[in-house]
């Protein structure tokens, strides 16, 4: 039992080699447990021996149990086996980017898995080359573009071929590159050349990546770009952001001016500076409209995409509700009243979506106008009592407390009709005039004799109508047996004159 409880895991076990990293391995030449590094026995850190099993490969005779070998032989055989297994266990397919164990795009991981070199070494190489001449950045970006993810065959570049706007955007960097090169030539800074090309390639590649990478890879890019974007994109007037941008701008400007001034006498500097500014202005004039066009195109494209998504969402929701209703109707096909009710409810919802722009699923809890409140009464009474409610409204106005009482009385009258009249249809008519609002509830059902209702049955209706009359409203019930019922509710409006809005 090795001291310290370090976990020794078998280096020959294939499952350990799949990720290409050797973190889980001990150092085989310093502490061989059980007399040999054979993958048939290993111990866990907890100390209890794990299973032993027969080793099966072309190096073993199959006759001996592994832990019977003498130490020296097992060590030699273990080394040979280690190499073979290591080679055998390694990935041999084409170059691919890694999917799971990735820092940025999985390029370094993928390369390490294929070549067997340690991941950290590859990453360090990339960084060194990137710092020295920018080629590291360009190489990484190109690898990201052109190597497919493991398990797939298409790379991002193939998708980018069809994205014309992205290619146009990437090529838009070209004038910037040319400008930089000219600038460098003017200032005799030869080192800029070797830096500019790879950086241009890297920037163009990044643009293509941003537009065409699948969402999980884009998320990585977005996470990285977050701090930069927060500073660069003007979102709101946060003073911290503005001051951060100003500070960075000032530092860059100061550094640039210092670098320029330090090497040249002032009048030569002024001439060359003037020339450089003219060149830059020329570029802006020549390429400005093109750049603006690309920017505008991108904005339009994004808006169109957002709109299409929104529309698809709404259409899906609507279709979903219609499908549900149709399924329900099929199930209840032998109850005609239910069928009619379901069909009516769905019809109203679809009609209000098509013609009034009301999106299903967005329910407003508060009604703000008489028209909306009347429609809510219609919906709720139809759903609760299975009776058809026809609504006609003329004019509209905002609800206030008095009108809410009126609407409550109207709902009460409608529910009464639904419950007692046995009529198939109840008609609701709401008229908004400058000085009063009237609602008429009419059905052609059994009717009743208003005088003969026993006092104890009056209950809720009386309270609702009573409340309305306390607010200044008037209720009149006309009915006769066999002739239906007509309830007239009127409420004077507090505000004398209001502009009439369009009726529904």
């Amino acid at each position: 039992m090795p001291p310290g409880g370090r976990e020794y895991l078998c280096i020959y076990d294939d499952t350990e080699e799949s990720s290409g990293s050797r973190r889980a391995r001990g150092r085989p030449w310093c502490w061989p447990p059980n007399g040999g590094w054979l993958c048939d026995s290993w111990t866990r850190a907890s100390g209890e021996p794990a299973a032993t099993r027969e080793v099966e490969d072309e190096y073993s005779d199959g006759e001996y149990r592994a832990d019977e070998y003498p130490y020296w032989l097992s060590h030699w055989r273990s080394a040979a086996r280690r190499h073979h297994r290591h080679w055998r266990g390694r990935y041999h397919g084409p170059f691919r980017r890694s999917r799971d164990a990735r820092l940025l795009g999985g390029v370094a991981e993928g390369l390490s898995k294929r070549t067997g070199i340690d991941v950290t070494i590859i990453r360090v190489v990339f960084v060194l080359f990137g710092l020295a001449s920018g080629t590291g950045v360009a190489a990484y970006v190109l690898a990201w573009l052109f190597l497919p993810v493991e398990g797939e065959d298409t790379n991002i570049a193939q998708r980018a071929m069809e994205d014309r706007r992205g290619i146009a955007l990437a090529l838009a960097f070209l004038p910037a590159l040319v400008a930089t090169l000219l600038l460098a030539a003017a200032l005799r800074a030869g080192w800029v050349d070797s830096l500019a090309w790879p950086l241009f390639v890297g920037a163009a590649g990044l643009v293509l990546l941003w537009r065409n990478a699948p969402s999980d890879e884009r998320a990585v890019l977005e996470r990285l770009a977050q701090p930069v974007l927060n500073v660069a994109v003007p979102q709101g007037r946060s003073w911290r952001r503005i001051s951060a941008r100003a500070l960075i701008g000032a530092v860059l400007l100061g550094g640039g001016l210092f670098a320029l001034l330090a090497g040249h006498p002032s009048h030569i500097f002024l001439r060359s500076l003037g020339g450089i500014l003219l060149v830059m202005a020329a570029f802006v004039v020549i390429f400005g409209p093109w750049w603006l066009g690309i920017a505008r195109d991108l904005v339009v494209e994004r808006q169109a995409r957002v709109l299409a998504e929104e529309r698809a969402n709404v259409a899906t929701r609507v279709h979903d509700s219609v499908l549900q209703t149709l399924a329900l109707i099929q199930r209840r096909a032998d109850d005609p009243q239910q069928v009619a009710q379901l069909a009516r409810a769905q019809e109203r919802e679809l009609r209000s979506w098509l013609f009034n722009g009301y999106v299903p699923g967005s329910t407003s809890s508060e009604d703000s106008t008489v028209g909306e409140a009347v429609q809510r009464v219609q919906r709720e009474v139809e759903a609760a009592h299975g009776i058809k409610v026809e609504v006609v409204t003329v004019g509209d106005c905002d609800l206030d407390d008095d009108l809410r009482e009126l609407l409550a009385a109207a709902r009460e009258a409608t529910v009464n009709s639904a419950k007692w009249s046995a009529a198939p249809v109840v008609s609701l008519f709401a008229e908004v005039e400058p000085d009063e609002v009237s609602i008429f509830v009419r059905d052609r059902g059994k009717g009743f004799d208003p005088g003969s209702v026993p006092p104890d049955r009056k209950g809720v209706s009386e309270s609702v109508f009573g409340r309305m009359s306390r607010h200044g409203g008037v209720a009149e019930v006309r009915s006769a047996p066999g002739e239906g019922t007509d309830v007239a509710l009127k409420m004077p409006r507090r505000v004398a004159r209001r502009p009439k809005r369009a009726a529904s």
Partner: protein
């Protein structure tokens, strides 16, 4: 009151709906033909000259409006009853202003449809409660802001108080018979009032009428 069965022509682009109407109208009317598009409808109607045409408002290729406008000039005896699934007045008003004499929604029951067809064949107008509500709104007693500059022709641009009462009762869901009883007039008088309202609806250049429809489309 004509006793002969009215001759009816169906125009609708939904085959199922036409079959249903054929079923419901049954033997009460004589169906002389069907069409599912604007040009065949115009041709066949001009050829067969039915009494009543049941016309779907939403037809591809110009809508029911196009059929009415094309036939109205040469065959003034043909009367149109508009059918609409939308119940939205701006669809219906266009057809009515083109010359239809009324509209019903497609959810109407069989007997009511027969009744409406008969009424149109007799020369009257069919007003659903919603249409009556719209009329009340469009011909409001208080002139709207834009109307106050234009001089209103009392003949066409205003409803008389009697017409307004009739419209209000119809909007409340009263049948013609009940309206007549309520106002203590004869049914014929009610029909006359309704027809005159229809005429005003069709001919009035009242700003609010057109603006109302335009507003609806914008909202």
């Amino acid at each position: 009151m004509r006793t002969a069965t009215p001759r009816v022509f169906l125009v609708d682009d939904h085959e199922l709906f036409r079959a249903g109407v054929r079923n419901e109208l049954g033997t009460s009317v004589e169906i002389v033909g069907e069409a599912d598009d604007v040009s065949p409808a115009i041709e066949l109607i001009s050829e067969r000259e039915p009494d009543v045409v049941l016309l779907d408002v939403h037809l591809p290729g110009g809508g029911g409006q196009a059929v009415v406008e094309a036939v109205k000039g040469e065959h003034p005896s043909v009367r149109f009853l508009a059918l609409s699934v939308s119940d939205a007045p701006e669809d219906v008003i266009a057809v009515i202003r083109a010359g239809a004499r009324g509209y019903v929604t497609k959810t109407i029951s069989g007997p009511e449809l027969v009744d409406a067809v008969r009424r149109i064949a007799d020369g009257d107008a069919v007003f659903s409660p919603r249409l009556a509500g719209f009329v009340l709104d469009a011909f409001s007693a208080m002139p709207g802001g834009a109307d106050s500059n234009v001089s209103l022709d009392p003949e066409l641009d205003q409803l008389t108080s009697r017409e307004r009462e009739v419209m209000r009762l119809i909007a409340r869901g009263y049948t013609y018979k009940e309206t007549a009883r309520e106002l203590s007039i004869s049914i014929k008088t009610v029909e006359t009032h309704v027809s005159s309202v229809l005429r005003k609806l069709q001919l009035s250049t009242r700003h609010q009428l057109t603006r109302w429809a335009a507003e609806r489309r914008l909202i």
